[in-house]
Symmetry: none
Subunit: 219 residues, 4 copies
Amino acid sequence: MTTTGPRRRQARTNGSARDPERTRRRILEAATAEFARHGLGGARIDRIAGRAGANKRMLYYYFGDKEQLFLAALETRYAHIRAAEHALDLAHLEPRAALERLVRFTWDYCLAHPEFITLLNSENLHKGRHLRRSRRVQAMHSPLVGMLREVLRRGERSGAFREGIDPVQLYISIAGEGYFYLSNRYTLGRIFGRDLMSRRALGARLRHMSEFVLSAVRK
Amino acid sequence: MTTTGPRRRQARTNGSARDPERTRRRILEAATAEFARHGLGGARIDRIAGRAGANKRMLYYYFGDKEQLFLAALETRYAHIRAAEHALDLAHLEPRAALERLVRFTWDYCLAHPEFITLLNSENLHKGRHLRRSRRVQAMHSPLVGMLREVLRRGERSGAFREGIDPVQLYISIAGEGYFYLSNRYTLGRIFGRDLMSRRALGARLRHMSEFVLSAVRK
Amino acid sequence: MTTTGPRRRQARTNGSARDPERTRRRILEAATAEFARHGLGGARIDRIAGRAGANKRMLYYYFGDKEQLFLAALETRYAHIRAAEHALDLAHLEPRAALERLVRFTWDYCLAHPEFITLLNSENLHKGRHLRRSRRVQAMHSPLVGMLREVLRRGERSGAFREGIDPVQLYISIAGEGYFYLSNRYTLGRIFGRDLMSRRALGARLRHMSEFVLSAVRK
Amino acid sequence: MTTTGPRRRQARTNGSARDPERTRRRILEAATAEFARHGLGGARIDRIAGRAGANKRMLYYYFGDKEQLFLAALETRYAHIRAAEHALDLAHLEPRAALERLVRFTWDYCLAHPEFITLLNSENLHKGRHLRRSRRVQAMHSPLVGMLREVLRRGERSGAFREGIDPVQLYISIAGEGYFYLSNRYTLGRIFGRDLMSRRALGARLRHMSEFVLSAVRK
DNA sequence: GATGAATGAGGGTTCATTCAT
DNA sequence: GATGAATGAACCCTCATTCAT
């Protein structure tokens, strides 16, 4: 994306001047981090600009206003996870292995991209009003449900899975297993008096989830 | 909501003046609703005072500041759900029935008290820093884990449940089933192009969750 | 209006603290001056607050926002001129003297209150959108038209005035004579290469207007 | 109107690129409209550039800054009305007909060019500080006063007009008749509860003005 | 226990203007 | 002659909070 070629004649302090694509990207990254950490209401335009090394005015130049910037951050994260999902080739795996892989994927993705969780929570706090206006996200259908349906069908045929499982319900159950644990880790950790984020705890959770899901679907 | 000008002298309409306990309660209720709807960062002291029919100064008189008010709201909701949990007498139910009851309880509670979800999400967004300071919540141990442990033990003995299930992991799984669905209903609804909150959809989810959990634990 | 009594215990820097009526009035006066000098768009909230010796927040506390403050200034000036008009007792004057008095009144008022002219011009620049929402101004009917109608009738009967003159048209003509001269004094002065505001020029204009109007209505 | 993001490369649609004279003229026209509608303080450079289909930078290239652009707009309008005035050949008309024609001309011009009124009001709000620096306007002497002087002289000699009328005062009176009515139409309309801009009302005003002026000057 | 008035810092946003190309 | 990107000051307004009574 970044033209490191002849466009930038001289170094600038922020390194982004006169490189619009880069400026835009830096703002978006800074915004994502800020929104993820403080939520939509708690995010500060000043901090975003500061972290991006950009003039505050540029946020409005590129994104219109705070809410549109939030939407852009959301859309970008959605595009990112969708791209990752596409790489998940469940179709060529044995049904049980496919489910295990999906459990692990959701878990790993949430662990690696905690900002995704808080962005989604923010959007849901605002009743999804940004996403509703998004055209990009509308077009980004998750391939997971289709893949999951196919996996379920194969599992049913082979006698490995019980029948009548709705792929959307299953997807929500699988995602919820990891998402809820990580999203609510502070309150859960406090209540149970446990450190939910130790390496050991994380490993135990992944094992539990795999067993739980695989047990749940077996015939 | 913002006071645009000096209030005309008006008769006390909230009927709470000179009834300190009631004033306090009204403020707390208004704060809970406000925090639940807008999050900690988006909540407005003015709106809370307005809805409570109280003078803004009273918020500070009773609760110190915004964050302490937030904590008070959180604590109150925790006390509420703890009280409800205590009424859940899983010990006298057959193990499978006990689990089904727990699934239903979590689901019904989240449905009936959506503010609990958003309060928890807010607290987790802030890394649980309010709850960490709370003494009240620390003392409010949920009876659920203990009850769950006992149920699991009985189920194992009777041969109904498989062995080695950790009650905390199971509790998180059960809670997550309903919580994630409801907490993320706007984004999930948008992605799947479904109305997740129709009476039918809610019924289907409850059925799925019960089956899913019971299948997951069976031997 | 101002309670100089026991309400203010100690002197404050701005002298207006804890004297809401006075604070409000000072803001309104400062706003009137600012709007008159710079127009609605050019007026600065900071300057108004500064001149009023008040905190900026107080403008919003008392008046809501800039536009409502503008309307309040407008309404106050209207109330002021209406009060002055009421004192004009044209009914007891001989018709010609009555008209002369009206010419002089309009002239003197515009001279003494140049802010009225620029406020009106601002409001007209904005197509009267503030006044349209005003309830106070709607209720402040100018007594002038009625008085003028009566004067015209008496003049017609006595044979001093020609017939068929509409009092509203006449009022606009009379007001316009002085208003236009003063409102446009800078451009007119420049074009004609004359100082329109010298004592001599002002005297000449008043004489011209009186003669002009009286000649225009005579039989 | 604000550019929310980098313009996508688009085909030149305004057809003015590389046609400097046309670009300049389009900017000037857009600026005139903008200043007329919003005043100097309320005018926005962005909107002007947008309406002109020109790059913002061009405004500065051609006109220096906002104030000089305002002056240019003002000068252009002055040049325009001066040109129209030159076409008014009062010298060959009978004195009364000449005055009537002048009344009508002022009225028609203000009606056809409402932007002239608001530009003048803006300039007067700013105490004529732009016009003062203008060399062009200084050179544009209105022929009206001279023509008016001659008309008055002829009228006096023929016994149609009374003596001692100053042509400048008369001009201001005539111009004010129409200007004030139109300039203040929103506030006057509101106060009198009349639609001053209906076809009927406009006709009535023109008739009144003609009669009023002609009566005022007659012997 | 309760009130209306007051505060100052900072919120998001927009301004006229200039830079590099 | 023309462009998109960038700037920093200042805009109006709102925030949580505290004062005096």
